[in-house]
Symmetry: C2
Subunit: 156 residues, 2 copies
Amino acid sequence: MLKIKIIVVDRTRSDFLKQGETFYMKRLKRYAKTEWVETKPAGIKKGRSTFGILDEEGGSIAKNFVPRDYIIALERSGKAYSSKELASHIEKLSLTHDRLTFVVGGPLGLSKALLDRSHEIFSLSRLTLTHEMSRLLLLEQLYRAFTIIKGEKYHK
Amino acid sequence: MLKIKIIVVDRTRSDFLKQGETFYMKRLKRYAKTEWVETKPAGIKKGRSTFGILDEEGGSIAKNFVPRDYIIALERSGKAYSSKELASHIEKLSLTHDRLTFVVGGPLGLSKALLDRSHEIFSLSRLTLTHEMSRLLLLEQLYRAFTIIKGEKYHK
């Protein structure tokens, strides 16, 4: 069974988004061994540079990578798939990889180093989303992708 | 004060998305007189055509239009703005219009007649989203647009 790891920065603070994550994680687990990893956010001291914060958070994220991970970072400027394209992309990847790892940054995004290290960069929307909203959307799209791959009805 | 009307098909069934809507509606009301209108979904009888369903739902939606409404329909294939572009677009529209009306279709989307009647078509993402998720995303982006227009901090 395909392993999907979703690495995010910090726990989810919004109560309704947390509920949404739980809802879609449960569904996703029917299709893939799904793991949710929350990494430590950088301390936001006054005057600290974005670079410093992203560098620290990128380090915490990267600790969770294992050698065979195929890393997909989420970034607004990345590749925008349709849901069908995403499904066929995941299906194709799963023929050659058994571990797909998705990375969602914190409020400031992801470091350049981490984006460079990723195998690809995926954009959910041209719009700027909160990092917590991105997590929910990612989970929903992964669930949707598997229903497309399996030819199953999408349950709302 | 700018009036924003959001017309959707049916009530929101997902509990966590309903909570999210309430959360962002409250915030939006600081910036615009915001009205949320739920219209009647078409009965889904077996064998009924998509055209028939969308036509009926489009009719129920259109009953809520008033002459000065500037109508923005949401559709996957519409124009994809960045959040900044959306903010400056809304700011510009508000100089010449006092009523912006957003329309989010039901599970099957919107009829061609309704799209033709709209002043513009806006896409939240290339991905297919559930119609309930689209509502939440729209509210969040409208709130975000106003914080950008007013130069205010975005509160998470």
